[in-house]
């Protein structure tokens, strides 16, 4: 007997497509934040589906910290060419040179906090009124209450007490002058959903998600890759290990995991049996228990 039930992935896909189309219609200048990470890759794939056979009707914005994995940049450039997309690059170095952002002091300065500054500057420069992000509610406690349409005030700040109720799928994108929205089409996806969808849709990924050998130093329980921005501390040295990445951020703060999963099957098994959250490998969240909430209030995703 034929049933009229969709699998969970089909339902999540349909929900995201619905949101992309709503935003394209409700806003004047949407743009998609694209990091080259798997969540933004899945998001882009969904956007391409939403507007097919038409073209994606908004540009991608990449906030370039200058501390990227080169594989992520290669991937970004390949996608842009392959799907005839428009790309805007916002440079953290540019904000530093202008004096609007100040580099952290210390041996291994992270530019994570500075991203928010460049992001807000870029959104303002292009008058973006709706910025898509690949945030998922399962990632972190502060994100569990995030809306699909997340309202930001004129300072780009998120106020948990001033969010509009989201009823059914009636998304209200009306805003006052100088306000804008962040849009999270894959809010309801978990890490496992993302990987299952990548397998189902045969989506291409940056190679760093698959197991490979890399020079690594272990610091505070986090495996950091060798990079021009990472200075070894006393008694530290790089060792070659078989690793892969579960999330993709800056080379200065994204930790690798020891893994021999060099294909999707292996990765999905690993995710299924994993006992630490993805963000457990991000040193930016470890600074305090409420770290994410505080950074969100400041305009970070």
């Amino acid at each position: 007997m034929q049933t009229h039930t969709l699998t969970h992935l089909k339902q999540l896909e349909s929900e995201a497509i619905y949101i992309f189309r709503e935003v394209a219609e409700q806003f004047e200048r949407p743009a998609m934040l694209f990091s080259g990470g798997k969540d933004s890759i899945v998001m882009l794939h969904l956007a391409i589906k939403a507007f097919w056979p038409g073209k994606v009707p908004f540009p991608l914005i990449h906030i370039d910290t200058g501390h990227n994995f080169p594989e992520a940049i290669d991937y970004r450039d390949w996608m842009v060419k392959e799907y005839d997309l428009d790309l805007i690059v916002g440079s953290v170095q540019g904000s530093i040179d202008k004096g609007t952002a100040v580099e952290e002091r210390g041996v291994n300065p992270s530019r994570n906090g500075l991203q928010a500054i460049t992001l807000l500057e870029t959104l303002e420069e292009y008058k973006v009124d709706a910025a898509f992000g690949g945030g998922r509610r399962d990632e972190e406690k502060a994100r569990a209450k995030e809306r699909f349409f997340s309202h930001r005030d004129e300072f780009g700040q998120w106020n948990p007490k001033n969010q509009r109720p989201e009823l059914w799928t009636l998304y209200n994108g009306h805003y006052n002058e100088d306000e804008h929205f962040r849009i999270f089409p894959i809010s309801n996806w978990t890490e496992m959903d993302v990987w299952q969808y990548i397998a189902q849709e045969k989506i291409a990924l940056p190679s760093i998600y698959f197991a490979h050998k890399r020079k690594i130093v272990e610091r505070n329980g986090i495996l950091l890759a060798e990079s021009p921005w990472n200075t070894l501390l006393k008694n530290e040295e790089y060792e070659e290990r078989l690793i892969r990445y579960r999330t993709l951020g800056d080379m200065t703060c994204t930790g690798a995991v020891m893994s021999d999963a060099d294909n999707l099957s292996g990765i999905i098994q690993e995710v299924a049996s994993s006992r630490v959250t993805e963000r457990g490998n991000r040193s930016d969240d470890k600074r305090s228990e409420a770290a994410m909430e505080e950074r969100k209030l400041q305009g970070y995703f």
């Binding site: 992935l9 569990a144 978990t190 190679s207 999905i268």
Partner: protein, 433 residues
């Protein structure tokens, strides 16, 4: 292992057959949880997530630390779900939070809503997308006013499946008698509001009885654990598969191609179906149903697709394509049950923007017919409009006609929101009578 796209940095794996594909048989259940602060709701959610491995070691470590510093005796599973710093400090939940877990059969999305009286709007929000509601009852206290209130809101939002989780059974010695009394009390009032599927489950969220696994403490209970009920409840008949509805979301054009993008909100659309478009009432026939993955023969809720028609109709966003055999109502005035969600109350004569499916029209509230007492479920007359967290029946005049169904028939084409013209805030949730 993979097709490398002539680029060392990019990998596309084509051999997806090598991946265990059992997830292709999983579906999705959205449920909401309601209960008062002390009913153990957060502990229950923590328990479901912990026992289904949706909680990770680092999260557990973080709450172990917090539990210790608070002086809690056991690891406080409730801390897993209390998201924001402000709430953790105050020890209460102040907004709808969404949680996720999965079993091999289903993915679950929990809309976790706080139970305080002032947060009716949160429960309405959480219930609006839910297939099922879990109502928590403290076994010691039985059915209280809040239980009735939560059940009533769930029924108002047309949630078809209710699970009454009688919690803290360990504190009443797993008494069958107490459980049966609660069941009788509950049915005495729920019979009046007509919910099709109600299940009662004796649990202890703290000890884990009947949450994931069947408990040995309740040999008199044989209808399965909470999780097995959540896995088994059938929801595929809950959507409206009879009345074909396709609100136009966007026009997609590309060279010679012109199609209407949207989500099927009702019925099963098939190639060759006769359709009528609103508001123009022009008729045509579905020529193709398209997706990026290929053409399909039929589409059903909640699929997002692109529909092409045999005739070149000049449709725009907000128009509704309906199957000609079962037409929607086209109205300029309507009655709706609304839940008021804003500090600034509703007064008769108030003007708003009304959002319904993909359309927006100007609207005036011409009358507040009555107000609902959500404790007694009685309709009471009012001449004061509606305040925040109040529910009532109103009459609305629209600036132009829209095509809709009653909320009872279709939750997607029978629901609306009102938007304040000055602040742009969503001020009300409405269900068409």
């Amino acid at each position: 292992m993979s097709e490398v796209l002539n680029h060392p940095s990019i990998i596309r794996e084509e051999s997806a057959a090598a991946v265990d594909q059992s997830y292709l048989n999983m579906d999705l259940l959205r449920f909401t949880t309601a209960g008062s602060v002390d009913d153990g709701k957060s502990t229950l959610i923590g328990r479901l997530m912990y026992d289904t491995k949706a909680i990770f070691e680092d999260q557990l470590e973080a709450i172990e630390k917090s539990s210790q510093s608070r002086g809690d005796e056991n690891v406080n599973l409730a801390l897993l779900t209390d998201g924001l710093k402000a709430e953790r400090e105050q020890g209460i939940t102040i907004d709808v939070a969404y949680r996720y877990f999965a079993t091999p059969k289903r993915k679950f999305i929990i809309a976790d809503t706080p139970g305080h009286i002032q947060y009716t709007r949160n429960m309405v929000t959480g219930a609006s997308t839910a297939n099922l509601a879990i109502i928590l009852v403290d076994a010691r206290n039985g059915v209280v006013e809040q239980t009735k209130r939560h059940t009533f809101i769930a029924s108002l939002l047309k949630i078809k499946h209710i699970v009454v989780a009688v919690n803290k059974m360990d504190l009443v010695d797993y008494s069958e008698e107490q459980f049966n009394k609660i069941k009788t009390d509950f049915l005495a009032f729920s019979d009046k509001i007509g919910i099709e599927d109600i299940r009662f489950i004796p649990i202890s969220a703290l000890k884990g009885d009947n949450v994931v696994d069947d408990s040995t403490q309740t040999p008199w209970y044989t209808d399965g654990s909470l999780l097995s009920n959540l896995e088994k409840v059938e929801i595929d008949q809950d959507l409206d598969l009879d009345n074909g509805r396709f609100p136009v979301q966007r026009i997609i054009e590309n060279n010679d191609f012109k199609g209407f993008a949207g989500r099927v909100d009702g019925g099963i659309l098939k190639v060759g179906d006769e359709v009528v478009a609103y508001p123009s009432k022009e008729t045509s026939v579905i020529k193709t149903i398209e997706t990026m993955d290929g053409k399909i023969e039929e589409a059903f809720p909640p699929m997002s697709v692109v529909v092409t028609l045999k005739d070149d109709l000049q449709l725009k966003r907000g128009d509704m394509i309906a199957k000609a055999d079962n037409k929607p109502s086209e109205v300029e005035t309507l009655k709706a049950t609304v839940c008021w969600m804003n500090q600034k109350g509703l007064s008769v004569g108030g003007k708003y923007l009304l959002k319904h499916t993909t359309t927006e029209v100007n609207a005036t509230v011409t009358a507040v017919i009555d107000k609902l007492d959500i404790n007694t479920m009685n309709h009471i007359s009012t001449d004061t409009g509606l305040q925040m967290n109040e529910i009532g029946v109103v009459e609305i005049q629209l600036s132009s006609a829209i095509a809709l169904d009653s909320y009872k028939t279709n939750r997607a084409t029978g629901s609306l929101i009102l938007i304040d013209l000055d602040t742009n805030e969503t001020v009300a949730a409405g269900m068409v009578k």
